[in-house]
C-alpha cells in the first residue's frame, strides 16, 4: 500500500491504466459506395455491396456495430406531376427481384423510405437529410452488418419517367480488434 501511494508509482499505475483495456485499437469508420439503379418505368433495383471497400476489408472480422446507415440521392422527375417514391431492402442472398410483381410477393422486404415526394425537376437528398426519410432503421442496420443487401425503388404513378441520377450508401461501422 505504501508503495502504491508514492507519487512516482501512482503516475506509473495511472499510465498503465490508460493503456490497459486493449480497446485502444477500436474505432469508427465511415464507408460509402456509389451506385446507379437498374430498371425503369417505376421499378428500380440494385445489389449494394460494400464488402470490397478497403475499410470493410480491414475490419470485417471485428465489426461490433453498424452505428448509422444513410443515403445520398439525386433524382430527376421528368414528368409534370409529383411522383411518390418508396424504397425497400432485402437480404442479399434472397433472389433479386427485377419486376414489381416479384417485389410485391417478397415477404421479407423491409420498407426504408416511405412515400418520398419527388416534384417535377431535380431533387437532391443529402446524406444528412436522408435520416428524416428513413424508417425501420434497426432492421436496415442489421442488414447492413452483412455489408450486402438488395435495394429496390418503386415510384408511383409508375408511368411517369423518373431517373435516379446518382446514389450513394454511407455506412458507419464500429469495429474493435483484440
Amino acid at each position: 500500500m505504501k508503495w502504491i501511494l508514492q507519487k512516482k508509482n501512482m503516475l506509473i499505475l495511472t499510465s498503465i491504466a490508460i493503456l490497459f483495456t486493449g480497446c485502444l485499437i477500436s474505432g469508427t469508420f465511415v464507408i460509402n459506395e456509389k451506385f446507379t439503379l437498374n430498371g425503369n418505368s417505376g421499378f428500380y433495383y440494385y445489389q449494394i455491396d460494400i464488402t470490397g471497400e478497403s475499410d470493410w476489408q480491414d475490419h470485417k472480422d471485428d465489426i461490433d456495430n453498424i452505428d448509422v446507415v444513410g443515403f445520398e440521392l439525386w433524382f430527376t422527375n421528368n414528368g409534370a406531376t409529383d411522383v411518390t417514391f418508396n424504397t425497400y431492402v432485402d437480404d442479399f442472398y434472397n433472389p433479386l427481384c427485377t419486376d414489381t410483381n416479384c417485389l410485391n410477393n417478397n415477404s421479407t422486404k423491409i420498407k426504408i423510405i416511405d412515400n418520398l415526394k419527388l416534384i417535377p425537376g431535380s431533387t437532391h437528398i443529402t446524406y444528412g437529410q436522408s435520416f428524416q426519410y428513413l424508417v425501420n432503421i434497426d432492421q436496415l442496420r442489421q442488414l447492413a452488418k452483412e455489408g450486402q443487401f438488395n435495394f429496390y425503388g418503386v415510384s408511383s404513378p409508375g408511368g411517369v419517367n423518373i431517373s435516379l441520377d446518382s446514389a450513394q450508401v454511407v455506412v458507419t461501422v464500429s469495429a474493435s480488434g483484440t
Partner: protein
C-alpha cells in the same frame, strides 16, 4: 440521475466554510478542446465542465464532475458533408493521484475516473447513456494555497453495446479554488 448529480454539485458549493476547512475542499472550472480518437464520424470540438475537489488522503483527491462536449461536424470528400457532430454530457467522479492537495508550486498528477456519458445526435435520433471511464495526466501550478492553474490531458472511453468503444482526448485548462487544507 443527471439532475441528482448536478444538484449534489451545486449543494457542495454551499457547504459551510467551517466544514470545508475540516474536509479540505475545492471547486474548479475548466474548458478546452475535445479530439475524437479514430472516429471518422466526429471532428474536433469543444468541452467545458465543473468539478469539486475533496481530499481523501494526502495524495488522493476525489472530484465529482460534470462535463459538456460538442464534437465538430465531420467532413467527407466523397459525399455531402452535412452530418452533425455529437453532443456528449458526462457526469461522474475522478480521482487524482500523486499531487498533494492545494500545495503551492508545480505538481504533476495522474487521473482516473468513471461516469455516465450521454451521447446525443438529433440528426440520427441517437440518444444513449453509457457507463464509461477516463484516465490521464494533469499539471497544477498553484500561486497560493487558495488558487491554482490546472492543465489536463485525459482519454475518455465509452464502451459500445457489442464490444469496442468510442474514445476521445480532452485537452483542458482551468482554475481551481481551495477553501481548506
Amino acid at each position: 440521475m443527471k439532475k441528482i448529480v448536478i444538484l449534489l454539485f451545486l449543494l457542495s458549493c454551499l457547504i459551510p466554510t467551517t466544514l470545508i476547512k475540516a474536509v479540505s475542499f475545492g471547486i474548479g472550472a475548466y474548458g478546452g478542446t475535445e479530439i475524437p480518437v479514430v472516429q471518422d464520424d466526429q471532428a474536433q470540438g469543444t468541452t467545458f465542465g465543473f468539478h469539486a475537489r475533496v481530499k481523501i488522503i494526502p495524495v488522493i483527491v476525489l472530484e465529482p464532475n460534470i462535463n459538456f462536449t460538442n464534437f465538430g461536424d465531420p467532413t467527407f470528400a466523397e459525399f455531402t458533408s452535412d452530418l452533425q457532430g455529437s453532443k456528449v454530457t458526462s457526469y461522474g467522479v475522478d480521482a487524482t493521484f500523486g499531487a498533494p492537495f492545494a500545495d503551492a508550486g508545480l505538481n504533476l498528477y495522474g487521473i482516473f475516473g468513471a461516469g455516465f456519458y450521454n451521447i446525443k445526435r438529433d440528426q440520427t435520433f441517437q440518444d444513449e447513456t453509457k457507463l464509461g471511464w477516463s484516465g490521464g495526466l494533469g499539471l497544477a501550478l498553484a500561486f497560493t494555497t487558495q488558487i491554482a492553474l490546472d492543465a489536463r490531458s485525459k482519454l475518455n472511453v465509452i464502451p459500445s453495446d457489442n464490444g469496442g468503444s468510442k474514445k476521445s482526448l480532452s485537452l483542458i485548462g482551468g482554475l481551481n479554488f481551495y477553501f481548506g487544507k
